[in-house]
Point group: C2
Chain length 143, copies 2
Amino acid sequence: MSANLYATPEDAETAFYDAIERADLEAMMAVWADDEEVACVHPAGQRLIGLAAVRESWRHVFANGARLRVRVSHQLCWNSALMAVHNVVETLYLGDDPTPHGPMHATNVFIRGANGWRLLCHHSSTASEAPTSESTSTTHTLH
Amino acid sequence: MSANLYATPEDAETAFYDAIERADLEAMMAVWADDEEVACVHPAGQRLIGLAAVRESWRHVFANGARLRVRVSHQLCWNSALMAVHNVVETLYLGDDPTPHGPMHATNVFIRGANGWRLLCHHSSTASEAPTSESTSTTHTLH
């Protein structure tokens, strides 16, 4: 889908949220694994399976026209050689409005292939409340 | 936490949903990895981090007294040597009432350790609608 090479799961995750911020559908789809059955669960509760359905859902999101920025915090990372899973808190901002929306909880699953790390699954859902502490990040490497 | 050994991610997942059905807190906690920072996102939107918080949340769920059964369907599985991720549809039943509740989308993350496969992360959220096709299961093994 793209010549972009993400050397780490973090690079792929950054590219994912950058694509949202730029409402760039091609950049968004370049982040997803193209050789696996990918899945995306949106906060409204739809589960999309496969690249075509995932693309169509993001096309709809971006077609709304509202610029969307996502600040990621409170990251938990579990990394192994071929797969990595991040569980994060997403805070959303619309346009230039500094009012935070959400937060959301997201689980992002990445795989390492011939072209680096790609997104396999994004599961996002509404959080009940804002996290209680400031931004933290915890990484576990599994041996 | 337990001498239970789950030979596959599927075994650990089955034990997880069995523990819910039996409202068995010790069986529930035996499924979770005890050497990692585990995370559990409940459908109401709370994120619990660490075994003590996860235990307390399930103690609350089970203390409600309502017997809860979960039917798992529409499973997507991504398996590697040390980690596995399942994205499933959960349909809930309360007591002996055959009325289905939910459905929910759940992402379950497993790691393989010295004592077999354990649950690292369970992220469950309300689905917008029932899946359109009958129960399916798809497994990808990553090389």
